[in-house]
């Protein structure tokens, strides 16, 4: 009887119930999407940072100082300070050497570019010499493969990557290539300011999406030769697995000497980025290792802000749903006050009437909730694809959270209707004409 009444009421009030379900669908899908994105994205960004190559750069201390003090990345005091190529492999010998996944040296240079078969020059361009796919044998006998190719997984390359021994080939950044109409297979000539001239074949054109796009990428020996800087490098890009910073790590990052011996021990033996940097500096002569903070930090603050925004959206949509539901239920109850008053007159207790109405609402809410949940998962994936470019893992926990929120939102939304029901006197509705 009870269920027959509920079902028939639901059917008869379908427009209102549909409105309630629709409200719930909206609210639940928003909350589901937001929470899944929120929970899924922390991991995403972390993984992305690793995919996005280097998280530590090592430079000559003077160059690092100039860039810290004056923001200089080129010129006197920056471009004329070098690290030693022979130090590079020592990176793998530090305490956290195992956490160092990839690394690549960079030697910066400048040269005049001209394209074969075209009049005049294309002007002065930046060069970067590096290891692309280095196979190295450490002093311990351990073998390893590393290089820029592993640090630039996102590059779109037309043509081919430079091989490790492609000393007569170059790769050209996409912007530079399109500015000068350079295509794969073209022959180019580079003239350095000390007069060295060398011909190269363009083996590939890469799209970095950053400032590399205006550079020419060469092997390290080729740039050393052209610039006459044998055994020298400007910087090393390092990709290391790190432990998220805590208070100790932040204190150490300020000044490791401020730590007590015990703290120092803990810090040194934990893969904090500051500890790894510290250890790198111990093996690279004149080197200063710095975490690539800009990326990490801005991603972090963006993440915090998005999280806040999403919590806000969830709360607001919950409040909105509660208000909408409360209006709809109250209207529905008032519309049926004669019927509900009659039930009271027939001997229904207040709680039985309240239960009747609540179950109607909860069933509608549940139906809306289920639809909303799946819609929300869809939204989450759309957000994941468009904003973060990847699939978002669905957190089971969200079902529980959303269910609890939904339950309380519908309950809260029902409060005015319940109060109305409790106060409803059968005499008031049954005798009126």
């Amino acid at each position: 009887m009870f269920w027959r009444m509920i079902i028939k009421t639901l059917v008869r009030q379908k427009s209102k119930m549909l409105m309630i379900a629709f409200t719930v669908i909206l609210g639940v899908s928003l909350s589901t999407a937001m929470m899944n994105v929120m929970l899924g994205v922390g991991d995403k960004v972390n993984r992305e940072l690793k995919v996005y190559g280097a998280n530590i750069t090592v430079r000559h201390q003077d160059a690092a100082l100039m860039s810290d003090l004056y923001g200089l990345t080129e010129g006197l005091g920056v471009n004329d300070k070098f690290l030693y190529e022979e130090d590079i492999l020592k990176l793998k010998t530090i305490f956290w050497g195992f956490n160092i996944l990839d690394f690549a040296p960079i030697l910066e240079g400048r040269a005049i570019l001209s394209v074969k078969g075209r009049a005049g020059t294309a002007g002065e361009v930046s060069l970067a010499g590096t290891w692309t796919e280095k196979h190295a044998i450490l002093s311990t006998g351990e073998e390893l493969n590393t290089g820029l190719k592993s640090l630039r997984t996102w590059w779109e390359v037309e043509g081919e990557w430079l091989g490790e021994d492609d000393n007569n080939s170059v790769m050209v950044g996409k912007l530079l290539a399109s500015k000068n109409k350079i295509r794969v297979g073209d022959a180019v000539t580079l003239t350095s300011n000390n007069g060295a001239v060398k011909n190269f074949i363009v083996k590939g054109i890469f799209n970095d999406g950053g400032n590399m796009d205006e550079k020419i990428l060469m092997t390290l020996p080729a740039v050393q030769e052209l610039m006459n800087l044998h055994g020298k490098i400007s910087s090393i890009e390092v990709s290391a697995l790190t432990t998220p910073d805590n208070d100790l790590a932040r204190k150490a990052a300020q000044d490791p000497r401020s730590l007590s011996p015990d703290e120092y021990e803990t810090w040194y033996c934990t893969a904090y980025v500051s500890a790894i940097c510290h250890q790198i500096q111990e093996v690279i002569r004149d080197g200063v290792a710095k975490p690539v903070r800009q990326v990490a930090e801005s991603e972090g603050t963006i993440l915090n802000k998005t999280t806040l925004l999403m919590i806000l959206i969830t709360i607001l949509s919950s409040i909105g749903s509660a208000l909408a539901i409360s209006n709809l239920i109250t209207a529905s109850v008032i519309e049926r006050s004669q019927e509900l008053g009659l039930l009271k007159a027939l001997g229904a207790y207040n709680w039985q009437i309240v239960l009747l109405v609540l179950i109607e609402v909860m069933m509608t809410g549940l139906a809306g909730g289920v639809i909303g949940y799946f819609l929300g998962i869809g939204f989450a994936q759309i957000i994941g694809q468009t904003v973060f470019g990847s699939y978002i893992e669905i957190a089971r926990m969200v079902i529980l959270i959303v269910a609890v929120i939904l339950f309380f939102v519908t309950l809260l939304g029902s409060v005015p209707a319940i109060r109305y029901l409790m106060a409803l006197k059968p005499t008031e509705v049954l005798h009126g004409k």
Partner: protein, 223 residues
Amino acid sequence: MSKKILELKDVSKIYGSLKALADINLSVNAGDWLSIMGPSGSGKTTMINLIGCMDTPSTGSVILDGVDISKENAASLTRIRRDKIGLIFQQFHLISYLTAVENVMVAQYYHSMPDEEEAMEALEKVGLKERARHLPAQLSGGEQQRVCIARALINSPQILLGDEPTGNLDEENEGIVVDIFRRLHSEGVTIIVVTHDPEVGDVAQRKIILEHGKIVDDINQSL
């Protein structure tokens, strides 16, 4: 001498400055058939509400089957009403989306357990067995009121209360309803009916006249 089923002692109901009922004293025996008449606004509905446990008096006491209901809270008033009172209304108040038999079963549900067979029997008694599966909108006014009576009687109440039960019916249907009352009376059901209609009022065994909240006449018509 039969048992006293209802007694009103010095009952008043006051709405603001208006005394809808003023010091009413009345006692009704089990099996009585009482009609309440009087001009509009004289307090008839107010009195029915008090007897039907849908309201409590401002002063005085209403003793129903030995229990003073003026002292009870809302939940126990509901329980007493459920167990002892059957209600019929001028506007029938059937649930529009339930069939005749389902409307009867709703009363069973809130009393104890729905029992379709029993509900069908109740409809048969008011001559509506064939129309049990119809919705209220498919029934005539008289038929709807008979469903209402079946619903009021389904839990075997001690008192059947009607507020203008024939007010919306034509003469023919009024006759049918009055016949049902007559039969119920012969079966020993206590009936209290408010009416404007002298024909309905006059068939009762006893008739009281209200005016301005006071009983001005109490006529024994059984002779």
